[in-house]
Subunit: 127 residues, 2 copies
DNA sequence: TAATTACCTTCAAGTCTTCGCAGGTATGCA
DNA sequence: TGCATACCTGCGAAGACTTGAAGGTAATTA
């Protein structure tokens, strides 16, 4: 009987692991197949040391798997679902961003009206 | 043209906001309707000050909305989608936990066999 | 008016994360 | 054997997050 509190702790631990720009990009890059550290380093333009540290963390939480071949370490997603789920998050974010831009425009329009001194306008009593 | 890097930064910022046990539980509680601070404090058994601080953060990122009525502040989810999305994450976690328990049981069984010295058993060569 | 309730904000301490660097290991090649 | 490549690990500084305490505000009640 995993209590809600326990589940929330575990989920937050998982989210914390994912919640880093570099690590999100690593997961995205690995969605299309395994890559080695240097390749990821190039694609993200992030020092290989840092990539390696991120990968160690992702691996510790079993989000990626390591396969060694000679001196190369190939990393791949341990669970493809997670990448899909992440992508849903991106979609959510993009729709929010779109509405942000609309809201920004509305504010801009309102300011424009205000500057022009159109106080006879009935819709000017917000805040 | 939001670059991948920018999107990854924004998504990680959003995930960081969500990635806290208390805040995950707050989002879960609000899924069924608006609640005031003291009600959340009771349900999570977390000091009201802390709940208030979490809510302020969630509100700043527009994950929740505030409606004031007398001295009560009712909070509700600003975007229902996000709760659904979170729930997908929980499901993912639960399936992973289930397989963990299975793996754990397999290890336990193996240890049991090992203790009993049943080395003639063909299925005893996992790690 | 004074007290109470419900909530908010600021602050300081403790903790956790991130990052580059220096120094390691393991593999391959000459 | 020596050297280069590909990667890893430990360390410490800088910064971010979490938390309770103290001291607010605003609305209700006596």
């Amino acid at each position: 009987m995993p209590s809600r509190a326990v589940l929330a702790r575990e989920l937050s631990a998982l989210l914390k692991v994912i919640a880093h720009p570099d690590r999100i990009r690593i997961i995205e890059e690995l969605k299309t197949g395994a890559l080695e550290v240097s390749a990821l380093s190039d694609r993200l333009t992030v020092p290989a040391t840092r990539v390696s540290q991120h990968l160690a963390l992702l691996k510790a939480h079993r989000l990626v798997e390591e396969r060694r071949e000679g001196r190369f370490h190939h990393y791949s997603l341990a669970e493809a679902d997670i990448a899909e789920w992440l992508l849903d998050g991106v979609r959510f974010l993009e729709s929010r961003r779109a509405s942000d831009i609309a809201a920004q425009k509305a504010i801009g329009d309102a300011k424009q009206l205000w500057r022009n001194g159109v106080e006879s306008n009935g819709a000017a009593n917000n805040q």
